[in-house]
Point group: C2
Chain length 131, copies 2
């Protein structure tokens, strides 16, 4: 068997799924793929899905899938080139989203941290952070 090379579903949890939808659609600018009122919103990215579930309604009852659902702040990092950071700082400010931290790594690479409405920690960073 070959080890997997790609993650095609990353999950975050939000008790207020509507607030999550407004945030990920309007602030993050992601394309809504599908939703179930009060249960989940799914976003499609380049060959990967961002799935945001109400942790109390992610039991996959629709398809009798294995249940999951975590509580407390999760974390996701989105790939954004540092050249786009000034536009992102302005865009986040215009939506009233506070930058919690701007971290400069020992390599000189920079990360921008803020929160979604559920308190999940989001990060913007270029891939060279890990390359």
């Amino acid at each position: 068997m070959k080890p997997p090379t790609h993650i095609i579903e990353t999950c975050l949890y939000a008790e207020d799924v509507e607030a999550a939808e407004r945030f990920y659609s309007d602030v993050m600018g992601l394309e809504l793929f599908s939703k179930a009122e009060g249960k989940f919103v799914f976003y499609k990215m380049a060959e990967a899905m961002l799935l945001i579930f109400d942790p109390d309604a992610s039991d996959g009852s629709q398809h009798k899938l294995p249940d999951h659902g975590a509580k407390g702040p999760g974390h996701v990092c989105f790939r954004v080139d540092e050249a786009e950071f000034p536009a992102w700082r302005e865009h986040l400010a215009s939506h009233g989203v506070a930058i919690e931290s701007e971290h400069v790594w020992p390599s000189g690479v920079r990360s921008l941290y803020f929160r979604d409405p559920a308190g999940n920690s989001l990060e913007l960073a270029p891939w060279k952070l890990w390359a």
Copy 2:
């Protein structure tokens, strides 16, 4: 500002980080990138990181980063071609990992579900599940 197209950090949480390391290294076959005893193990995939943290020790104290840490089962789907499913079934069985569910979607695409030692729900599926 351009919406992000890639997620470069996906997190799961595991209170027993050593058990997580054994599982993701030996069973999932992922390449360990870095670790901090009892705090986290990081795996590097194709232009994305899988980060597994102890939820009580993911406050980034080393770098004073924004804290995060969720409890309860999370979920990740790894991209695996269906042609590799027989090898995966055998491989998981040889490591004593039970297949919790094998789901056939309305499109005919198949997903294989099992759990990591922390109870996180893992899925193997081809990208065409979402394409």
